[in-house]
């Protein structure tokens, strides 16, 4: 007997359409990207620690440093948001508290990450001198 239901209608309610792993996968992909970025940043911080304001501005103004810093910030903030989300989901069982903390985690990550990226770009594009 022919079915008159649409393919979407038949698929609805049958579970995840292969997107359930995306959060898990994104955390791993960001982890892989962070390995070289973090190692680079450790040596960047060593360099920056011995530079004064002027020197730090010039360092950040170099294209490679600016781009890697922005990529590090974006990836690190994505990764830390994902990690903190799992921590909240694991330990907080009260629905309201959990929802508040999950939203707070997202807002803090997006706000502070955006502040950092904007600041790096401002310095790199000559806005700090």
């Amino acid at each position: 007997m022919a079915s008159y239901r649409t393919p979407l209608g038949r698929a609805r309610g049958l579970g995840a359409a292969h997107h359930g792993a995306s959060h898990w996968l994104a955390e791993r992909v960001s982890a892989i990207a962070l390995v070289p970025l973090v190692l680079w940043m450790v040596f960047g911080i060593l360099r920056l620690a011995s530079l004064d304001y002027q020197g730090a501005v010039l360092w950040v103004s170099e294209p490679l440093n600016a781009v890697l810093m922005v990529l590090l910030t974006a990836t690190a903030y994505w990764h830390m948001h994902a990690g903190m989300r799992v921590i909240v989901e694991d330990y907080i069982h009260k629905t309201l508290t959990k929802a508040v903390l999950l939203v707070l985690n997202m807002f803090v990550s997006v706000l502070v990450g955006s502040l950092a990226i904007f600041s790096i770009l401002k310095v790199a594009l000559g806005g700090a001198l």
């Binding site: 390995v35 060593l46 620690a49 690190a76 830390m80 950092a116 790096i120």
Partner: protein
């Protein structure tokens, strides 16, 4: 609902402490610590973009004894989370999950974190960065 009278996972109270348990807990703890570290790094970028006066006070704060302790712990956290994160990626590929390998890689991750932290701070002290 959760019945508080029965032992709950991960049974921290009834399990003998072992190395892989420590590395698992330390991975979360260092991750949470690095969350704060990322906020400190953002503070650095904002301070730099805010001009030399703000940047100088930020450097002064980071150079204080408390600032150095925080930066040292963050260095340890970064290298531990990095090494143990790679360990997790290896596990995700299905390798190294037996007890012997897991114990060995735990020792490697902890040793790497300590050695790398000391090396970086050694470089920082000898180059005058600290």
């Amino acid at each position: 609902m959760i019945d508080a009278d029965r032992p709950l996972s991960p049974h921290v109270q009834v399990w003998r402490w072992h190395l892989t348990m420590f590395t698992s807990i330390a991975h979360r703890a260092s991750g949470a610590g690095l969350y704060a570290g990322a906020l400190i790094l953002a503070g650095w970028a904002v301070a730099l973009a805010s001009g030399s006066a703000v940047y100088d006070s930020y450097r002064h704060l980071m150079g204080s004894p408390l600032g150095k302790v925080v930066l040292f712990l963050l260095t340890l956290g970064v290298f531990y989370h990095l090494a143990n994160g790679i360990r997790h990626l290896v596990w995700d590929s299905g390798r190294g999950l037996d007890i012997k390998s897991a114990n060995f890689s735990a020792v490697v991750a902890i040793a790497f974190a300590i050695v790398a932290t000391l090396v970086i701070w050694g470089i920082a002290i000898t180059t005058g960065a600290v």
